[in-house]
């Protein structure tokens, strides 16, 4: 049981990170559909760095940097050249699939050491909870920290208010004197960093070797999670755990020989995403104040 919960948590962390990053990006009014691509880059970056420097912590940094690099490409085109965000995001994923395939080719067949668990003094000795919550790896702690910081940041800090303002009405933000493009750059790069670390988690903890397209749609599920969470950070935790649970349930089902074909079980996370979106979208279309009002709209500044 304990092991099961640990696997569910581990499975949900990449989703959690990527979705949190995308939430910040979207709060600033930018819709980056390239999460899948940024995660892939994070994964290959992490693998490469660990093989080269032989320390899993460099994998985290490399993953973050790879994600930021991809987000920068996205930002140049959508923010500076005002290209269509949907199409550019798709392009980013396609581009990153190609790039990581190329960069990952020499890594095929090599295995990396996994990210060590960190026991938190005393707390990790608490029965059951200690093992689950306080014997985690660095990224797991980091992701929880990010959620807490983000919640505080958006709600109580002035930069957080500014970020929301830019996503709400970029023209007004410009009139009041905020550099809309710069703020969107930061938000998009933060999203890229989170997606990159989320992607890095896959080789660092889940499957320690490279395979093409190893994120398997997690980036897209992360995008759906942001909608599912109605742009509220803590709800991402709930959503990510549900999806982690479903993913693990199908693996358990396959292992225990449930009389359902494995492929049908494997469809579960994707079908669950569709169902979750359907349920939540009905509500959002009635109460659309949760959606950042200038989401996906390019900003043209006159000077």
């Amino acid at each position: 049981m304990e092991a099961l919960i640990l696997t569910i948590i581990a499975t949900s962390i990449p989703l959690l990170l990527a979705a949190t990053g995308e939430l910040i990006t979207e709060k600033s009014g930018v819709l980056n559909l390239g999460v899948e691509g940024m995660m892939l880059s994070g994964a290959v970056g992490a693998l490469g760095a660990v093989l080269w420097l032989e320390n899993p912590y460099f994998g985290i940094i490399a993953g973050a940097l790879s994600g930021i690099l991809m987000a920068s490409i996205f930002s140049i085109f959508t923010i500076n050249f005002m290209t269509n965000q949907v199409a550019t995001g798709l392009g980013l994923t396609i581009f990153a699939t190609g790039l990581t395939g190329l960069a990952g080719a020499p890594l095929v067949g090599k295995t990396i050491p996994s990210l060590p668990k960190i026991e938190i003094f005393l707390l990790s000795d608490i029965p059951i909870i200690g093992n689950i919550l306080f014997k985690q790896d660095f990224i797991a702690y980091l992701s929880i920290a990010i959620i807490i910081i983000i919640t505080y940041f958006l709600k109580y800090s002035k930069p957080g208010v500014i970020l929301r303002a830019v996503g709400d009405d970029h023209q007004s933000a410009h009139s009041v004197g905020y550099p809309v493009k710069k703020i969107r750059w930061y938000a998009t790069c933060f999203g890229g960093m989170c997606a990159g670390i989320g992607g890095a988690y896959i080789p660092l903890v889940l499957t320690p070797h490279w395979s093409e397209g190893m994120t398997a749609g997690r980036g897209w599920i992360a995008l759906a999670l942001v909608v599912f969470a109605s742009w509220i950070p803590w709800r991402i935790i709930v959503g990510a755990l549900i999806f982690g649970g479903i993913t693990i349930a199908q693996l358990v089902g396959q292992a225990r020989g449930w009389p359902i074909p494995s492929q049908i079980l494997s469809m579960m996370p994707y079908l669950a995403t569709i169902i979750a979106l359907t349920i939540i979208s009905g509500r959002i279309s009635k109460n659309n104040s949760v959606v950042p009002a200038s989401l996906g709209k390019p900003f043209f500044d006159t000077q």
Partner: protein, 520 residues
Amino acid sequence: MEKEKGSELLLKATKINKSFGDFSANKDIDIDVAKGEIHALLGENGAGKSTLVKIFYGVLKPDTGSIEINNKEVSISSPNSARKNGIGMVFQHFSLFPALTVAENILIALDEKIKFKDLISEISKLSKEWELFVDPLKRVSELSVGEQQRVEIIRCLMQNPKLLIMDEPTSVLTPQEISNLFKILKRLASSGCSILYISHKLEEIIEIADQVTILKSGKSIATIDAKKTTTKFLAETMVGKEITALKKVNTKTFSKDIALELKNLNKPNETNFGISLKNINLQVNYGEILGIAGIAGNGQVELMEVLSGETITDNENEILLESIPIGSKDITERRQLGIETIPEERTLHATVPNLTISENTFLTYFSKYNKTDNIISNLLNNHQNSLIESERILKDNDVRCPEVNPLANQLSGGNLQKFILGRSLANNPKVAIFSQPTWGVDIGAATSIRQKLLNLSQSEKAVILISQDLEEIFELSDQICVINGGTLSKIMPVDKVTAADVGLLMGGKLDTASELEIIK
């Protein structure tokens, strides 16, 4: 205080130039604003007023020119530096964030650090002092337009401004709110704060301003003492020619035939940003103009949608044309029945900017052009058939085009509106419904559009005019009612009400017109 006026300069701008691409919005503009002076900027749409004040507020950068404040040359590179120089601005379309609270909206324009608790008490203090009441914890999207303007003003007052710029502040206010605003502005001015006041409303300028600078096509053409001038003189200087008055025939006979009726119409809002229409009753006769006054965002858009047939009603008996239910008819069917609507948004709603004028003519009349006996031809895009019709519309309505059959976005606002109107009238409607038909168009076009409305009613058509512009409503309408919060007041004959009464209804101070009568 009075004596000091005009003695000392606060703002001195010289030779301000600004162009966008090939279009030059400001040409060598000079303007001086004295301390404690209310200085009006008057001009038609596109004269360059907004561009000029956006330069003062640092939103736009001038190409050339210098700005001095207190006799010291300053460079205003951003709104932040404008605020540091003591300049505050209330924007025409506001610069508020609907999803944020009032306090957050104010916080965002403050350059110094402040604790949230102190901010709230500071807001309460100011709002009491200046009688600008708002709840700091409410979201801006829940506020009325008038309240939103208060937020903008408080936001400026927080900085103790030396110069307050107000861009068309009264276009969204009721008469009562306007007189309150004027009280505040006068108080501000007498406390030493200068005010740069943009408007195209002449009476207003004479009432409030000390000096008035008139802009025309990007140039400053005159600065006059506002206390020693007349509206007629201002208008003619602004337009550059004599203004033709509307020809209104007073000996008009009312037909008693009912054209269009709404009976207990209800329409719940589709999203929480929309307005629910509640129990709307309305009747317009042939030969009559019914004016619907109201501040934007009180259900006008939703009312237009149900009138036009863009959304159909659940119960077809809620809308009747000559006593026949049409609530379930869609917009195309209603056009065929002779109901024409002209929506508020000219581009992207009434027209598609990247299509030609003939395609835009085809847009609303595809059913007419594609109604032939040939089945194949009905499936085709026969927009070339509308070319002759569109040319006739352009000619009849004096629409000036840069080339033959231009794209809709090549026309100026006024010309585009004349085309849209002409396109609808070409269908020879029985009932014509207009929303904000002269909003943002130049005086010449506005006069011609208003004359068209009058002509329609004189040729025994029924006209509904939805407008924010009270002057326009009173000038044109035979009957008046007010929309507020999705409900419609009783319909009143124009000679039985005053602008002040209508203002009270617009502000929601009175729930029904019957209360109005009791007060009287």
